[in-house]
């Protein structure tokens, strides 16, 4: 079932474009032929009940599904005119240009500095690492809290700080797109608010795709919202429209909390 939708990219070329993307885990189909345009420098939220395929779809955008045994992706994801699943595309390169922040903060068991420097280091960054680390931590709104203890273990930070460190670590690689898989679901309301403010800041420089369970969060921070249900894209459009005047009954039922 192809869904028609109207996404205004402001005349710019989409940052990502999924065409007929399906994902199978063994025999089970988790994502059913989804078409999706991600406009640049916008926040796109993927919402839907548990098991609807939103995280799976997100993981298609930087080939994270390659790491899951038995997972198979069909269709195309266009990035700068190139299919991410093309024969000559190196998934390592894809993940460098399209970063990811995970649901649970997962810093490395290393110092704050080493966590931030890990990505640039493995990618052969040759500039001044200290400057890059500071910039990245500032971008993630963490610098002021940690600048005098960069050598401390990342595990000494609070959950919210750890998640911002994970965002800083992702930004340090200078990706074009940042994928976030329920980045605030393990955090308290104040830490969540900080992450949300941060996402709005980051929009200036990055394209962000965020999976969230929290519909208020989607409404607060995203420009566009896609509603997925049972592996299908039910509706996609400007966030305001999806939450106030959705075209599909199922979307309305979900955003008003009648199921899910």
């Amino acid at each position: 079932m192809a869904t028609t939708y109207d996404i205004d990219t402001g005349g710019a070329r989409p940052a990502l474009e999924a065409r007929g993307v399906s994902v199978y885990y063994g025999e089970k189909q988790a994502v059913r032929s989804i078409d999706l345009i991600i406009p640049p420098n916008r926040v796109v939220a993927l919402i839907g009940p548990s098991g609807c395929g939103k995280s799976t779809l997100l993981r298609c955008f930087n080939r994270m599904n390659d790491l899951v045994p038995g997972a198979r992706v069909e269709g195309e994801v266009d990035f700068h005119g190139q299919n991410l699943y093309g024969a000559h595309v190196d998934p390592v390169e894809v993940r460098r240009r399209i970063g990811m922040v995970f649901q649970k903060p997962n810093p490395f068991p290393k110092s704050i500095y080493d966590n931030t420097a890990f990505g640039p280091k493995v990618n052969g960054y040759r500039g001044d690492m200290g400057v890059l680390v500071e910039e990245s931590l500032r971008q993630a709104a963490l610098w002021d809290e940690v600048h005098d203890r960069l050598g401390d273990s990342a595990y000494a930070l609070s959950g919210g700080q750890q998640q911002r460190l994970c965002i800083a670590r992702t930004l340090a690689v200078r990706p074009e797109i940042v994928l976030m898989d329920e980045p605030a679901s393990a955090l308290d309301p104040i830490a969540t608010q900080k992450i949300e403010e941060l996402i709005l800041q980051l929009k200036k420089d990055y394209t962000i795709v965020i999976v969230t369970h929290n519909m208020q969060q989607a409404a607060r921070i995203s420009d566009f919202t896609a509603f997925l249900y049972m592996g299908e894209l039910v509706e996609y459009g400007p966030t305001g429209t999806i939450f106030t005047t959705p075209r599909e009954e199922r979307t309305e039922a979900y955003v008003t909390g009648r199921f899910g």
Binding site: M64, V92, R95
Partner: protein
């Protein structure tokens, strides 16, 4: 109290009391089972210390074996054990860790991999004498390595490979998936993920497994007799192609003699072996703690 509600702990009648007695009995039984091990070790230690401690001296460590018990020592056997152990570690550790990394991080999850896995588990249970025969055929004869330290170390390496591989796999598997994903998500290659994140985190477990396997190797006698360790040696080896003897073999040699003096030597030899083992285990703990601190 209007109703017949007994205070806590006083309601025990019939089934309730039996239940508590059974619980207490079970705890006592488990404690007794634990004691069996502890007591056995204590008895063994006391016996060996009583028999052998008065023979333990610097002379004992620096003298070669001799027909005269008062002049005999463990020098050749101790040095031989250390040589064998060192070489076995150098051979077995990298091979096992590489195999574990391959099986956990690279190998496709196919029936071939499962078959290999099953075989490794089975190999860990093969009697050591069988490895001795393999060593004799393969290393001593086919590869013409003679009755050398190298043959012995290669044989013991194969003997402990499955143990280290399985311990390393456990340790590698215990590294959380989220850390791998984090590293991959930052554009790390598979090798970078393995070498910079997985291995450092798994290293304490791998080291523990290795030292435990080496502890087994240091006590092995049968396979080394097969590959030609000698019971009486009056020199220390100067290279990997030299002949050798090891502590367990020396102990066996002494114990099989009729004279009481040699039995005391054997007890002293056992003490040296135990001290070597304890030193190894202590090293394992120190290494593990150091790795934990760094990662």
């Amino acid at each position: 109290m209007s109703q017949t509600r007994a205070p806590l702990g006083m309601s025990g009648r019939g089934r309730d009391r039996r239940r508590r007695v059974a619980g207490a009995l079970f705890a006592i039984l488990c404690a007794a089972a634990t004691l069996v091990g502890v007591v056995a070790l204590a008895v063994l230690l006391t016996d060996v210390i009583m028999d052998g401690s008065h023979r333990l001296s610097v002379d004992f460590l620096t003298s070669f074996a001799s027909r005269f018990p008062e002049r005999a020592g463990v020098k050749a056997a101790l040095v031989g054990s250390v040589w064998i152990l060192g070489l076995t570690a150098v051979i077995a550790f990298p091979v096992s860790v590489a195999a574990a990394i391959y099986l956990e991080e690279y190998a496709p999850k196919s029936w071939v991999t499962r078959l290999i896995q099953l075989n490794i588990a089975n190999l860990a249970g093969v009697p050591s004498i069988v490895y001795g025969m393999l060593g004799l055929t393969l290393f001593v004869r086919a590869l013409a390595l003679q009755r050398s330290i190298l043959s012995g170390a290669l044989t013991l390496s194969i003997l402990i490979l499955p143990v280290i591989i399985m311990a390393s796999q456990e340790a590698i598997r215990a590294v959380p998936r989220s850390l791998r994903e984090a590293a991959y998500g930052l554009g790390a290659t598979r090798w970078q993920v393995v070498s910079l994140q997985v291995l450092p985190m798994a290293m304490p477990g791998i080291l523990t497994g290795t030292i435990l396997a080496l502890s087994r190797a240091v006590g092995e006698t049968a396979p080394l007799i097969m590959v030609g360790a000698v019971g009486f040696l009056a020199f220390t080896p100067s290279g990997v192609m030299d002949q050798f003897t090891v502590l367990p073999l020396q102990i066996y040699n002494w114990i099989s003699r009729p004279q009481e003096e040699f039995h005391q030597l054997a007890a002293a030899g056992i003490l040296v072996l135990l001290i070597l083992l304890l030193t190894m285990n202590a090293t394992a703990i120190i290494l593990r703690n150091r790795f934990r601190k760094h990662h």
